[in-house]
């Protein structure tokens, strides 16, 4: 919805943010066991109400495979067509460890930033509306 309000720039920002996090989520999922595409989507999305375009994980998986972080094999399924299972390579394990550590640091930064502005500012009389008024009055 807010992509309509803020325009395409907002959508782009969200996509950028998602891509990196999604990659980390995929690595994290695979570090706990092998997955095929659909089970990966289900595990990542879980019960959250995040609106994931499922197809977007395949380009990411393709890139991870090309970088040698994951490997894949086709396994016959008891029902329906064979599934392509992905597992982390040792290089992928290492990459996940590093990225996960980095993400935790970044998440801490975001949490810090959301503790809110200093008290005097919060109670201060200069908020956005006042600024707008002042500008109007010249």
């Amino acid at each position: 919805m807010y992509y309509i309000v803020f325009g395409y720039d907002m959508e782009n920002k969200t996509t950028q943010l998602r891509k990196g996090i999604l990659e980390l989520a995929i690595l994290g999922c695979l570090s706990r066991g092998r997955h095929y595409g659909y089970s990966l989507v289900k595990t990542i999305a879980g019960d959250s109400d995040i609106d994931l375009t499922e197809g977007t994980i395949y380009p990411i998986l393709g890139r991870l495979a090309k970088e040698g972080l994951v490997r894949s094999e086709w396994v016959e399924s008891s029902q329906g067509p064979p599934r392509k299972y992905y597992t982390l390579t040792p290089k992928g394990e290492e990459a996940y460890r590093v990225l996960d550590g980095e993400f935790r640091k970044l998440a801490a930064i975001v949490a810090n930033s959301q503790r809110g502005p200093a008290v005097e500012d919060r109670n201060g009389d200069l908020n956005v509306l006042d600024v707008a008024k002042e500008t109007e009055n010249g």
């Binding site: 992509y3 395409y8 609106d51 994931l52 977007t56 380009p59 329906g80």
Partner: protein, 228 residues
């Protein structure tokens, strides 16, 4: 293509996979097959896990969640094509990759050649137009000059050109021919003038198409953002 489904559902899946395959043109056939097979498996699993409602609405919901074929391939394509281009040292393929990256359109090599062909075609048309205009002007002026010279020295260039006498009086005849020649030259200038108009039109068409492509590209990825 056997995709594990039957009836109208199989057709819908086939149609989707076919569109996916079209978007993958230009990457090695083995990789195409692999990705199509993988997506087919995804559709199958997703369909099996979503048993509510009739089959057609189920498959449509599955495909909606999966996203457009472009979502499945977009990030992979340009890269794949650029590496392919490097391997074969074909700048054309690199160009294709860059174009796809720029426009986000998995044109494929067929689409790219069509685009290049179209541009070359338009350029050739414009060039041909100007050549015609300039030849008309040149011919008109040359003929007029020759006829003027012939008024004063009647035998000028005689073995090579012969003038059909439209009227009995040779001077009046020459004047008629001069007028005709100048008319041809004027026609050439008219074409030039038209050409400048045409260039404006061509520019307009290109800008229009470019804006269309840009807008289309903006709209192409479905808004996947959850409502706040």
């Amino acid at each position: 293509m056997a995709n594990g489904f039957s009836g109208p559902v199989a057709q819908i899946v086939d149609n989707y996979l076919e569109r996916l395959r079209k978007g993958l043109k230009g990457i090695p056939a083995k990789d195409q097959d692999e990705l199509v097979k993988e997506i087919n498996s995804h559709i199958y699993e997703s369909f099996r896990n979503d048993p509510a409602g009739d089959e057609v609405s189920r498959i449509l919901r599955v495909l909606d969640k999966l996203g457009e074929p472009a979502d499945v391939i977009s990030a992979r394509m340009p890269e794949a094509m650029v590496t392919l281009g490097k391997k074969k040292k074909l700048p054309f393929l690199i160009l294709a990759g860059v174009l796809i990256a720029f426009f986000g359109v998995p044109l494929g090599l067929g689409g790219l050649s069509a685009a290049v062909g179209l541009i070359l075609g338009v350029l050739a048309l414009v060039l041909a137009f100007y050549i015609v205009a300039f030849s008309l002007i040149l011919t008109g002026w040359l003929a007029a000059v020759i006829m003027i010279v012939r008024i004063f020295s009647p035998g000028f260039l005689d073995p090579w050109i012969s003038i059909y006498p439209l009227v009995a009086d040779p001077t009046f005849n020459a004047v008629l021919y001069i007028a005709g020649s100048l008319l041809i030259a004027a026609f050439g200038f008219g074409l030039l003038w038209l050409g400048s108009r045409m260039m404006r039109g061509v520019r307009f068409v290109f800008r229009f198409l470019f804006a269309k492509v840009k807008n289309w590209r903006k709209r192409a990825p479905a808004p996947t953002v959850a409502e706040p």
